[in-house]
C-alpha cells in the first residue's frame, strides 16, 4: 500500500501530511510533483493544504491545470482513492471531481483554530474507522471554506449521504456559532457519488499526534488504510508507534517550480 502527496507551488502542508502518513501511520509515502505525469503506482493520492499558485484567480483554480491533475482525474475515474485537505478540497471542487464551490468565510476572516466535526456517514473509505455521530476535534486554517451548493445539488448530496462531516460543537450539536465559516448545512467534508474522492476543510494531519492536542485525524487515515487493506492487501511497514517516534528523514524536494 503506497500513498502519494502532491506538491504544487504554494503547497505548505505537504511535509506535514507526508510526516503523518509515513512517520505516524507507518505507510510507504512518496511526493508527487505537480509537473509530472507519473503517479508512481500509488494506491491513494492526497492533495495537501496550502496556497497552490498563491490562490490566484480563486483558491485551487490554477492547480487544476497542473500536469499531475490530468493523472489524478484518470486515477479517480478508475476508482482510485483521492483525499483533498483544505486547499486540496478547493482544488477538487475547481477540477470538478467534487460538486459545489467555496466562498469566502462568512466573517471575512482567515480562520485558524481547532473545530469539532461530526461524522455523518461512517460507511465511506475515509470514515469507516469512526462511529456515525462521533465528534472529532481537528483544526482548520482557511479563508475560503464557506461551502456553497445550489438548493438542488444540496438536496441531492444529503439524499445520497455524501455529506461525511459537519461542523458542530463539542457535544456534536449543530449551530450557527459552531459553523464557523458559514458553510451551507454546516458541511465540512464531502464525498463524491462513487465514494472514492473526499474533500475536507479540517486538517487531519495536524491532529495526528498527542503533542498536537488531538489525534482524531488518525481516524481518517486509519479508515483509508482499512479500506485499502481489503482492496490491495496489507501495507503497513511497521506498527503505528505509540511513544517517541524514530522519525525517518523526509526526502528533499527536487525540481523547479
Amino acid at each position: 500500500m503506497k500513498f502519494g502527496v502532491v506538491v504544487f507551488p504554494g503547497s505548505n502542508c505537504d511535509y506535514d501530511t507526508f510526516h503523518a502518513l509515513q512517520n505516524v501511520m507507518g505507510l510507504e509515502t512518496v511526493f508527487l510533483w505537480h509537473k509530472d505525469h507519473d503517479l508512481q503506482g500509488v494506491d491513494c493520492v492526497v492533495l495537501p493544504g496550502g496556497f497552490s499558485y498563491g490562490d490566484y484567480l480563486r483558491s485551487g483554480a490554477i492547480a487544476r491545470f497542473s500536469p499531475i491533475m490530468t493523472e489524478v482525474k484518470k486515477f479517480a475515474a478508475a476508482g482510485g482513492l483521492v483525499l483533498g485537505i483544505c486547499n486540496g478540497f478547493q482544488i477538487l471542487l475547481e477540477a470538478g471531481l467534487l460538486p459545489g464551490a467555496m466562498l469566502r468565510n462568512k466573517n471575512l476572516k482567515f480562520l485558524c483554530q481547532h473545530v469539532y466535526i461530526r461524522v455523518e456517514n461512517s460507511r465511506t473509505a475515509f470514515s469507516q474507522a469512526a462511529r456515525k455521530g462521533q465528534v472529532l476535534q481537528i483544526p482548520i486554517a482557511h479563508f475560503d471554506g464557506n461551502y456553497y451548493a445550489s438548493p438542488e445539488l444540496l438536496s441531492e448530496l444529503e439524499r445520497n449521504g455524501q455529506v461525511v462531516f459537519r461542523y458542530c460543537d463539542e457535544k456534536g450539536k449543530l449551530s450557527e456559532e459552531a459553523n464557523v465559516n458559514g458553510s451551507i448545512n454546516s458541511i465540512a467534508g464531502l464525498i463524491n457519488r462513487q465514494g472514492n474522492v473526499l474533500g475536507m476543510m479540517p486538517h487531519p494531519e495536524r491532529a495526528s499526534e498527542k503533542i498536537l492536542g488531538s489525534q482524531d485525524g488518525k481516524i481518517i487515515f486509519q479508515s483509508m488504510i482499512n479500506y485499502l487493506e481489503k482492496k490491495v492487501g496489507p501495507g503497513r511497514k511497521k506498527a503505528v508507534r505509540t511513544t517517541r517516534p524514530a522519525i525517518s528523514p523526509l526526502p528533499p524536494l527536487i525540481g523547479t517550480f
Partner: protein, 81 residues
C-alpha cells in the same frame, strides 16, 4: 484587440465582501448606497482574431477559467477592435 471581462457573484450567492463595503459606506454617511456587489475585472489583449472569432473565444475563456459558473456570472465587452 482589447477585451474587458467582468466577473461577479451570482445574485443568489451571498457577497459578504460587498456587504462589508456597503456598511463602510453607510458609516461614512452615504446612506443612499442600497447594495454593493464586488467582482473582478480582467483586461485581455487578443491578437490574430477577427471580431466573430473573439466573440466565440471570450465567453469560452470566461466560462472555463475566469469565472466559476457555480457561483459567478460574467459579462464582457470589446474595448478596442
Amino acid at each position: 484587440m482589447k477585451v474587458r471581462i467582468l466577473v461577479s457573484l451570482k445574485e443568489s450567492v451571498l457577497d459578504p465582501q460587498g456587504q462589508t463595503v456597503r456598511n463602510a459606506l453607510h458609516t461614512l454617511g452615504y446612506q443612499a448606497v442600497r447594495d454593493v456587489r464586488q467582482g473582478k475585472v480582467f483586461e485581455i489583449e487578443l491578437e490574430g482574431l477577427d471580431r466573430s472569432e473573439a466573440e466565440k473565444i471570450v465567453p469560452e475563456i470566461a466560462d472555463r477559467v475566469l469565472a466559476n459558473p457555480i457561483i459567478e456570472k460574467f459579462s464582457w465587452e470589446i474595448l478596442e477592435a
